[in-house]
């Protein structure tokens, strides 16, 4: 328990550092969002409105440290300011809509990819030099070596445009009514199928190779030999002795991948016009929407830290050695 608290403390410190950098970085750049917004209205706003806007964005003439404290206070209350690209929606609300879709699309893609890849890695290692081991790793690494956007566009062109098997973009059809109905769920899944498959395809090889290599080295270890010599059934030797231990390094990678889900699915969301976090980020950059960018960066940072903490938790459960190191 003490260990978890200590890790939590560390993550809180890291989060604070991220917030601070997030606050100062845009202020080191020329221009400010209020002027940007003012420029977009091409003189149709009066100077008093600019001042009001500046106040909204926290850009007062107060000293920097006071601005910093105000901004920290706002973030802690969940107030991330007002978006410029989606004016006058608050950033928190804009991010909220994108977050759900990204979590659903990229999150499930990472989980599916990890599960299948790791399982295939166990198969390849156990039947080493067998049929699966001779063609699976090379094929998947070959697929994974394609530039992602190329693979995604090719899939979209062939399967979506030419053959018409999958929709060309968006999270659901224009005429679908959002809600927890079978029809809507099926529609969402149909839209997510192609982007999810492309993510899984390019990342599968990495999971497979990591698991396969760790497991092969563990298959030569004394405790696996002992398990075999004890006359245990093969499945038990493979899963409880070899795979269970080989899983540990993969879990670290899984946690990191999960953390980057929120920022990393940029290309997918652009190619498939998927209304997630990455798509919002591109919109924010195009519109010089600093509050939205800052908000997104903040969410990415917190997601990476949060999943890292989650991995610490999983590790405690998977590896008894960490339990004792902590107490």
């Amino acid at each position: 328990m003490h260990y978890l608290l200590r890790r939590l403390g560390f993550y809180l410190l890291a989060a604070w550092a991220a917030l601070t950098i997030n606050f100062f970085l845009p202020r080191l750049m020329p221009g400010d969002p209020a002027s940007t917004l003012f420029a977009r209205f091409k003189g149709k706003l009066d100077p008093a409105a600019i001042e009001a806007l500046r106040a909204t964005f926290g850009l007062t003439d107060a000293p920097l440290w006071r601005q910093y404290l105000t901004s920290l206070g706002h973030v802690l209350q969940g107030d991330l300011g007002v978006s410029i690209a989606y004016f006058p929606s608050p950033v928190a609300e804009v991010i909220g809509t994108g977050l759900g879709w990204t979590l659903f699309l990229a999150g499930s893609a990472v989980i599916v990819s990890f599960a299948i890849g790791t399982l295939l890695g166990v198969v390849a290692a156990w039947w080493r030099r067998g049929w699966a081991d001779s063609w699976l790793p090379s094929t998947l690494i070959f697929v994974g070596a394609f530039p992602y956007f190329w693979l995604a566009m090719a899939a979209l062109y062939v399967l979506g445009f030419t053959l018409g098997w999958f929709p060309l973009g968006h999270a659901y059809s224009d005429d679908a009514v959002p809600g927890w109905t079978w029809a809507f769920t099926a529609d969402v899944l149909r839209h997510a199928a192609l982007p999810m498959t492309t993510i899984v395809l390019v990342t599968l090889g990495g999971w497979l190779l990591t698991m396969r290599n760790t497991m092969i080295s563990l298959l030569g270890s004394d405790y696996v030999n002992l398990a075999r010599a004890k006359g245990l059934p093969s499945a038990q030797v493979a899963l409880r002795y070899a795979a269970r231990n080989a899983l540990l390094p993969s879990v670290t990678g899984f946690g990191m991948a999960l953390g980057f889900v929120l920022g990393g699915s940029l290309l997918t969301e652009i190619v498939f016009s998927y209304p997630g976090q990455g798509y919002l980020l591109v919109q924010a950059v195009r519109a010089q929407d600093y509050p939205l960018m800052q908000g997104i960066f903040l969410v990415i940072t917190l997601a990476v830290l949060g999943t890292n903490w989650l991995v610490d938790l999983i590790y405690l459960w998977l590896d008894p050695r960490t339990r004792d190191a902590g107490s």
Partner: protein, 319 residues
């Protein structure tokens, strides 16, 4: 001698490498009676651990059994199918591994590892398997409450005791100890060997004790087999080997251990180094280091000949 528990005839084990096979066990003949303790000694890399793994047929690739016969309890081990092997392994013949640290699964409790061994071979309930696992721990001197411990929570000596409890789980007829105490300090080593001795007397299993510590082995074993460069050079009762060794290599080994009551500096090493198994010398493999080698030693492989009651040596020159 009664019918042997284990009999090894003409056994050869090769490591298949890109440059051709390397013979790690070369035409070995051995017999073991029920309840007997046989010590196998030799320098590192002389093939003694390979021999142990060949007996259980757990040789990791690229090692292969090239030739020979292993008969255990009247059955041909080399002809057994995989299910037959699973039935023999551990139930009749078990092993204590060299490094206790690495021989236990780090992520499951020692209780689970003892219980899964029992469950794999006997149709008992999980509770019963756990109860027996507790009894096994008690038997090697560890309180049954430690069933829930993980390997890293135990000391080196305790881990090796768990290894012994594992080996005794199904009350086998033969336990192979592959350098069971190399990772331990001398005091713990002595304790553990004494403990194995006691258990062996009560349970009556036979032991093959593999080590490079000749002095320790002579105290512990009934009979001793000396390996040199993949071959057996001398076999005999421990008392005979200790007092009247015949082979010059055995004599050299015994001189290499300091005696407690001898003057300082009395230990001598054997000149030279053990040969590579890749390019072994022709004839007697010990001849380049042998103080009494004659011309014939360079050409002909000496046979193991009886030189006393139950005492065999592969040296026609020594007297």
């Amino acid at each position: 001698m009664s019918a042997p528990l284990l009999s090894v005839r003409d056994l050869c084990v090769d490591y298949v490498t890109e440059n051709g096979p390397v013979r790690a066990v070369d035409t070995v003949d051995l017999d073991l009676s029920p309840g007997e303790i046989l010590g196998i000694a030799g320098e590192s890399g002389c093939g003694k651990s390979t021999l142990a793994q060949a007996l259980l047929r757990t040789l990791p690739p690229p090692a292969v059994i090239a030739r020979g016969r292993v008969t255990f309890e009247g059955r041909d081990v080399l002809a057994m199918s995989e299910p037959e092997l699973r039935g023999m392994r551990w139930r009749r013949m078990s092993m204590v591994f060299q490094s206790a640290m690495d021989a236990l699964n780090p992520v499951t409790t020692i209780g689970e590892q003892l219980a899964d061994t029992i469950l794999a071979h006997e149709p008992v309930s999980g509770t019963e398997a756990r109860r027996r696992a507790g009894a096994l721990l008690e038997r090697v001197g560890i309180p049954a409450e430690r069933l829930g411990s993980y390997a890293h929570q135990l000391s080196g000596g305790m881990r090796q005791r768990v290894g012994i409890a594992l080996a005794l789980a199904l009350e086998p007829a033969l336990v192979i100890l592959d350098e069971p105490t190399t990772a331990l300090d001398v005091i713990v080593e002595r304790e553990i060997l004494a403990h194995i001795r006691t258990l062996q007397r009560t349970l009556g299993f036979a032991v093959i004790y593999i080590t490079h510590d000749l002095a320790r082995m002579l105290q512990f074993s009934d009979r001793v087999a000396i390996f040199y460069a993949a071959r057996l050079v001398e076999v005999g009762p421990a008392a005979t080997i200790a007092t009247a060794p015949r082979h010059p290599y055995t004599r050299g080994l015994l001189r290499a251990f300091p005696r407690v009551h001898a003057e300082a500096g009395a230990a001598e090493s054997i000149p030279g180094t053990p040969p590579s198994l890749r390019t072994p010398p022709p004839g007697c493999r010990f001849h380049p280091r042998c103080p009494i080698a004659v011309e014939a030693c360079r050409r002909e492989r000496p046979a193991l000949l009886e030189v006393g009651p139950g005492h065999l040596a592969a040296c026609p020159v020594a007297r």
